[in-house]
Symmetry: C2
Subunit: 170 residues, 2 copies
């Protein structure tokens, strides 16, 4: 499990990005012929060259509006999931990215105040109803509700794993 719910005290390190981080920044076109392992190494290299080498499983990305706009390439979300990013926190997302992200097991939190988060701040993710992000200084940023089936999908590691889990004899 990549993130914990309210009350566990588990915190996540924030990588702060700007607005309109598009799918080409997440999964650059020139490496799209390679597998996700290679693509992930180039994730965000244009804006944060150190990202793929330094990000740690459980870290989160906080960004401005329009995260994941651009192409429909699923690898944009897969690259972040592959690097172990626990969640993205942004005010809005590209529609296709939003769809792809949960499908590949990446949790997205829609948070109007995402841009108030700071680089390297440690935050707690609370997947209650509604979800929220708690900052190091105790402030709590409300997020839009996420239906249970999508939370389960992200937790399960994506749509295919969720279906496998549901179809396997218990």
């Amino acid at each position: 499990m990549k993130y914990k719910e309210s009350g566990t005290g588990t915190t996540h390190r924030v990588w702060k990005l700007g607005k309109d981080i598009d799918t080409d920044l997440l999964a650059p076109g020139y490496v799209m012929k390679h597998g996700i392992e290679v693509i992930a190494k180039h994730c965000l290299e244009s804006v944060r060259p150190e990202f793929s080498a330094s990000v740690r499983p459980g870290d989160v990305v906080a960004a401005g509006p329009g995260f994941g706009i651009g192409s429909s390439r699923e690898q944009a979300a897969q690259a972040l999931a592959r690097l172990g990013v626990a969640a993205v926190i942004a005010p809005s997302y590209g529609g296709l990215f939003f769809r792809n992200a949960f499908n590949v097991g990446l949790m997205l939190l829609t948070c109007a105040e995402a841009e108030s988060l700071q680089e390297a701040e440690r935050v707690e993710i609370r997947l209650g109803e509604p979800p929220a992000v708690a900052g190091a200084d105790g402030r709590v940023l409300a997020c839009d509700p996420i239906p249970d089936f999508l939370i389960d999908m992200a937790r399960s590691g994506g749509l295919l794993n969720q279906l496998r889990k549901r179809m396997s004899p218990s």
Copy 2:
């Protein structure tokens, strides 16, 4: 089929709306206990009281950014689909709305210049690669690409119908 592709000359009447049209405007909370037939009658009543009575199958909605933000209620997209709206054209969407819309058979076009469309203008929808909206005066507004499986999903009348179609013997 609710819309036609490039070259057919089929045009669609535009209903022009503002930005941040949320799911509560599309499917008001106080009628959510009813079925989609009733909910659809109240669709957009706060901003366009005449909408549900006057909209015709094949009409399209053009709006500002943030269309469908708010709750995860699927009825917000279903209400538009039920009224025969052929497509929504907007610069950005709420992530959950984007997911729900194609699932229930509602086509969404992501179009940076959507707000340049005018009330009652007639437009042509071109589902090429990339898709575009052609205005009455000949101008062409580029839209973000939509993967084939989502175009097929919207055309099929949603995810369940698409699955039924795929699973039925040909």
